[in-house]
C-alpha cells in the first residue's frame, strides 16, 4: 500500500440551491483520486459536472452550491465540511488553481506583479523584502520575457497566453502540492495551448505536483493525463490509467465520445470523394482587405487566393486574428475588399458591396454563433420562412410547405416551429441556421466555425448532417475552422492563414502528410493527440 494520494474523492455529491429552498444535484456520487506527481484528467461535455467537482476540490463552490454527500480529502485532511475560514489555510499553499478564461481572471486595475506578490504576502512565503525579487523570478520561471518590466504591466497589456502564464505563476507562488486546472487552455489558440500545457508539465515535474486537469477534449487528455475519469451528467462512466481507458473503454459512453472526437477518427468521412475536374464555383483571386486607415491600419487579409470546385469542401484554417472570418465575409459579400477579384457562381462581386444581398440563391453564410444571427423575437417557423418572404414568395401555404420540407431535411421535429431561438438547444439552433441558409437552395455555403460552440457529440451530428446534405444536393462548402482535426476529417482542399497571409494551400491529405511551411508544421505539431499518434506509428 502506497502513501495516501493528495486528492481522494469518495462518492461525492454536489448540488445547487435554486429558487425557494430546492436543491438540484449535479454530481451524483463520484469517486477518484489524484496521485503525487501525476495528472488525473476529468473529461466530459458541458453539464457533466467536471467544473463543479474541480471547484469543490478547490474550495471554490459558489455560494449556492454545496457538497450534499460523500467526502473530499485534500492532503490527508477531510475538507468536506470546511468553512471558508478553514479553507483559507489551504488556498494557494495547498491547492493552486488555474482558471479557464485568462482574460477575465486577473483584476484589471492591479499590476500583474502586484497580483503575484499578493499571493506571496498572504502566505508569507518569502520575507517581505524579498517579495519583489521573487515575483520577477516567478515570472521568469513561467516563461515571461523581460519579467521585471512585465511585472509592472496591467492585465490588458498582455496576451491571453501571457496572462495564463501569470495565473500559473500565481497558482504555484505559495508552493502548493496540488494544482487544479479548470480547462486552462480552452480560450487559447492551439499553438499557445501547447506551450501552456508544456509549462504545466514542466512545473509538475519540478515541483512534484498532483494535477487535476479538467477538459472537454479527449485528445488533450490522452496526451497529457496519466489517469482519466470520464464523466457524463454527474456520473463516472469510465476511469483508470489513460491508455487502458482509451484502448479498452468499458462504458458505451466512452466509446461514443471516442468515435465523435475528430482527432480520434480522422477517416470518418473518407468515403466521400470529390471530383477534382469539377468546375470552379467560387474563386478568390489575390484579395486584400485592410481595416482602419493610416498608420493604425491592419491588413486582415493579404493577397489571398483560393478556388472552390463544385461538390468539394475547402477548409480555411488559422488561429484567432489570422483573417479567416474576414475572408469568409468577403466571399459572402458582407464586407468589401481593397484589391483582387472574387467570383461567385460566375458572377464577379463588387469590391464595395451593397448592404442588401440580391444573390442569396448563389451563396449563403452560416454564422459561428447562430443565436446572435437570429432575431430573438422570431420563432423558428418565421426565421426559416423569412428568406422566402424576402424573395417575394407570396403564397403562405407554399412557404409553410417549404419550411416543413427543409426542417425535415435537417432532421428538426415540427415541435420546434413555434419556439424562439433561445428556447431550443445549441445543436438544434445550428440546424435552424442551416435550414434557413438552405431554404433559398444556394449552391455554395460558407460555414464560419459552424460547430465551435458545440459539444463534441453534437458537433459530430452537425458535421454528419453537413456532409450528407453536401452529397445529396451537390453543395460546395467553404469551411472556416480553427480545429485542425475536424478539418482533416471533412475537407478536400485547404488554405492555411497566418496573419492574413495564405502560407500554404493544397489537398488536405498532402498538407497534413507533408506540411511545407514552418507555420503549418507548428500548427500541426500543436494538435492534441498528434504526439500519441506518432508514438503509435513509431
Amino acid at each position: 500500500m502506497m502513501t495516501e494520494s493528495p486528492i481522494v474523492v469518495e462518492d461525492l455529491r454536489i448540488g445547487y440551491f435554486h429558487g425557494r429552498g430546492g436543491v438540484a444535484d449535479v454530481v451524483h456520487g463520484v469517486s477518484f483520486e489524484v496521485r503525487r506527481g501525476e495528472t488525473t484528467s476529468l473529461v466530459g461535455q458541458s453539464g457533466s459536472g467536471k467544473s463543479t467537482i474541480a471547484h469543490a476540490i478547490g474550495g471554490l463552490l459558489p455560494a449556492n452550491g454545496a457538497v450534499t454527500g460523500g467526502r473530499i480529502q485534500v492532503l490527508g485532511r477531510d475538507v468536506t465540511g470546511f468553512t471558508s475560514r478553514q479553507w483559507r489555510g489551504l488556498y494557494g499553499s495547498s491547492v493552486g488553481f488555474v482558471p479557464q478564461d485568462p482574460l477575465s481572471s486577473l483584476d484589471p486595475l492591479v499590476r500583474v506583479g502586484d497580483q503575484i506578490a499578493q499571493s506571496l504576502r498572504v502566505h508569507r512565503t518569502v520575507p517581505r523584502a524579498a517579495v519583489r525579487d521573487r515575483v520577477v523570478e516567478l515570472l521568469d520561471h513561467v516563461g515571461i520575457q523581460k519579467p521585471a518590466e512585465r511585472a509592472r504591466s496591467y492585465p490588458h497589456q498582455l496576451s491571453g497566453g501571457q496572462l495564463q502564464r501569470v495565473l500559473i505563476a500565481i497558482a504555484v507562488a505559495a508552493r502548493p502540492a496540488i494544482l487544479v486546472a479548470d480547462e486552462p487552455t480552452s480560450a487559447l489558440d492551439v499553438t499557445v495551448q501547447k506551450t501552456i500545457l508544456d509549462l504545466l508539465a514542466e512545473l509538475q515535474h519540478d515541483l512534484g505536483l498532483a494535477v487535476l486537469f479538467i477538459t472537454h477534449d479527449l485528445a488533450l487528455a490522452r496526451e497529457r493525463a496519466d489517469r482519466l475519469v470520464v464523466l457524463n451528467h454527474g456520473l463516472v462512466k469510465d476511469h483508470g490509467p489513460t491508455r487502458q481507458v482509451l484502448e479498452n473503454p468499458r462504458d458505451p459512453y466512452t466509446v461514443t465520445l471516442l468515435s465523435h472526437a475528430p482527432a480520434e477518427d480522422p477517416d470518418r468521412y473518407a468515403g466521400r470523394v470529390a471530383d477534382h475536374g469539377a468546375p470552379v464555383v467560387l474563386e478568390i483571386d489575390a484579395v486584400s482587405k485592410e481595416f482602419g486607415r493610416g498608420s493604425g491600419a491592419v491588413r486582415a487579409v493579404d493577397d489571398v487566393s483560393l478556388r472552390l470546385t463544385r461538390g468539394s469542401i475547402h477548409a480555411v484554417v488559422g488561429e484567432s486574428g489570422s483573417g479567416k472570418t474576414t475572408l469568409a465575409r468577403v466571399a459572402a459579400g458582407l464586407i468589401g475588399f481593397d484589391a483582387g477579384r472574387v467570383t461567385v457562381a460566375g458572377r464577379e462581386l463588387d469590391p464595395q458591396p451593397d448592404v442588401v444581398n440580391h444573390h442569396g440563391g448563389d451563396l449563403q453564410l452560416v454564422y459561428q454563433n447562430p443565436l446572435a444571427a437570429m432575431d430573438p423575437r422570431y420563432d423558428v417557423a418565421r426565421i426559416v420562412e423569412e428568406p422566402l418572404r424576402l424573395a417575394g414568395l407570396r403564397d403562405r401555404a407554399e412557404r409553410r410547405r417549404r419550411v416543413r420540407e427543409i426542417l425535415d431535411r435537417v432532421a428538426l421535429p415540427a415541435t420546434v416551429l413555434d419556439r424562439r431561438p433561445r428556447e431550443v438547444s445549441g445543436g438544434q439552433r445550428q440546424r435552424v441556421a442551416i435550414a434557413r441558409a438552405l431554404v433559398l437552395a444556394p449552391k455554395i455555403l460558407v460555414l464560419d466555425e459552424p460547430t465551435s460552440a458545440l459539444d463534441v457529440t453534437v458537433q459530430a451530428q452537425i458535421i454528419d448532417l453537413l456532409v450528407e446534405l453536401q452529397r445529396e444536393q451537390e453543395l460546395s462548402y467553404v469551411f472556416i475552422s480553427h480545429d485542425l482535426s475536424l478539418v482533416r476529417q471533412v475537407s478536400d482542399t485547404i488554405t492555411v492563414l497566418e496573419d492574413g497571409v495564405a502560407v500554404e494551400h493544397g489537398a488536405t491529405r498532402t498538407v497534413f502528410a507533408a506540411p511545407a511551411h514552418p507555420y503549418t508544421r507548428r500548427l500541426l505539431d500543436a494538435i492534441p493527440g498528434r504526439v500519441a499518434e506518432r508514438a503509435v506509428v513509431a
Binding site: 459572402a332 442588401v356 442569396g360 454563433n369 424576402l390 424573395a391 419556439r419 428556447e423
Partner: protein, 280 residues
C-alpha cells in the same frame, strides 16, 4: 465555451410564476388609480372643491379617512379627484417626450453624418441641464398652468428618449441578425421595420414606464412650487404646497398627498416591470 448549449430549452414565455405580495399590492394600487381617473365618484362621495366650515382641519376619521384641509374640504376626495390631473399631465409629457424622442433618435441613427452630429450635439446640451431646471425654463417661456407644466416636462425628457432611441437603433443595426437578414435578401426598409425597430423599441418602452413615474414627480414638483395647476385645483403637488402652512398641527395634509405620489410612482414602475417580464 459551450454557453450556447447551456441554455436548456425552456419556454420562459409561459412560465408565470406566482405573483408576489408586493406585486399584488402594486396591481391593486394601479387598479385604484385607473378607477380614480375614470370614475372618481366610486371612491369618494365628497365634492373636492366644496368647503365645509364645520369640518376644518380635522384629523383622519371614519367620515374623512384622510382628514380635511383648512377650508374643510375632504382630503380623500381631493386626492382622488387630483389623480386624473396628475395622470393626464404625465401622459401628455410622456407622449411628447416619446414621440419627439423616437423620431429624432431614429432620424439621427438612420441618416447619420451631419444630421446625426447636429441632433447629438443638441442632445448633449439638453442633457447638460438638469431636467427639473430645464422644465422651469420652458415654464418661464410658456407661462404657468397645468398643461404648460406637462409640456415643459415632456420637452425636458425629449433628450433622454432621443439618445436611447438613437443608441438602441445603432446597437441593433450592428447585431449579426440584422446583417444576416440583409444577407438573405432583406432591403433596408424591410429590415428596419421587421428587425431593427421592434428590437430597439423594447428598451424605449421600458424607459417610457420609468419616465411616466418621473413625469408624475416633476409635474407635482412644478405644482408644488406654484408653476402648475392654479388653486383650488386638487393637483397632488399643489395639495402638499397648500398643506405646508399647517404641517405642524396637521401633518397629514402634507404626508398623505406626498405618499399618494410615492405609492403611485412605485406601483406603476413595479407593474410595468411585471408586464415586461411576464406578459410580453
Amino acid at each position: 465555451m459551450t454557453t450556447a448549449d447551456l441554455a436548456v430549452p425552456t419556454t420562459t414565455r409561459f412560465r408565470l410564476r406566482q405573483i408576489s405580495v408586493v406585486e399584488w399590492l402594486a396591481l391593486v394600487v394601479v387598479a385604484l388609480l385607473v378607477v380614480a381617473v375614470i370614475a372618481p365618484g366610486l371612491l369618494t362621495s365628497y365634492d373636492p372643491l366644496a368647503p365645509d366650515p364645520a369640518a376644518i382641519l380635522q384629523s383622519p376619521s371614519a367620515a374623512h379617512p384622510f382628514g380635511t384641509d383648512y377650508l374643510g374640504r375632504d382630503l380623500l376626495s381631493r386626492v382622488v379627484h387630483g389623480t386624473v390631473r396628475t395622470m393626464v399631465g404625465s401622459a401628455v409629457a410622456v407622449v411628447i417626450g416619446l414621440g419627439l424622442g423616437t423620431v429624432l433618435g431614429l432620424v439621427a441613427a438612420y441618416f447619420g453624418g451631419l444630421v446625426d452630429a447636429v441632433i447629438s450635439r443638441i442632445v448633449d446640451v439638453l442633457l447638460s441641464i438638469p431636467g427639473l431646471l430645464l422644465s422651469m425654463v420652458v415654464v418661464v417661456a410658456l407661462g404657468f398652468g397645468a398643461l404648460n407644466a406637462a409640456i415643459a416636462v415632456g420637452v425636458s425628457s425629449v433628450a433622454v428618449f432621443t439618445r436611447l432611441m438613437r443608441s438602441e437603433t445603432l446597437t441593433v443595426t450592428g447585431l449579426p441578425f440584422v446583417e444576416a437578414s440583409h444577407h438573405l435578401g432583406g432591403t433596408r426598409r424591410q429590415v428596419l421595420i421587421r428587425h431593427v425597430f421592434p428590437n430597439s423599441y423594447s428598451a424605449v418602452l421600458s424607459l417610457t414606464a420609468l419616465q411616466f413615474g418621473l413625469a408624475i414627480l416633476w409635474i407635482s414638483s412644478l405644482s408644488f412650487l406654484g408653476y402648475g395647476a392654479p388653486p383650488p385645483e386638487p393637483e397632488w403637488g399643489l395639495l402638499v404646497a397648500e398643506g405646508r402652512e399647517y404641517v405642524v398641527s396637521s401633518p397629514w395634509l402634507v404626508v398623505i398627498p406626498g405618499l399618494a405620489i410615492t405609492v403611485s410612482v412605485l406601483s406603476i414602475s413595479r407593474v410595468s416591470q411585471f408586464v415586461k417580464e411576464r406578459v410580453l
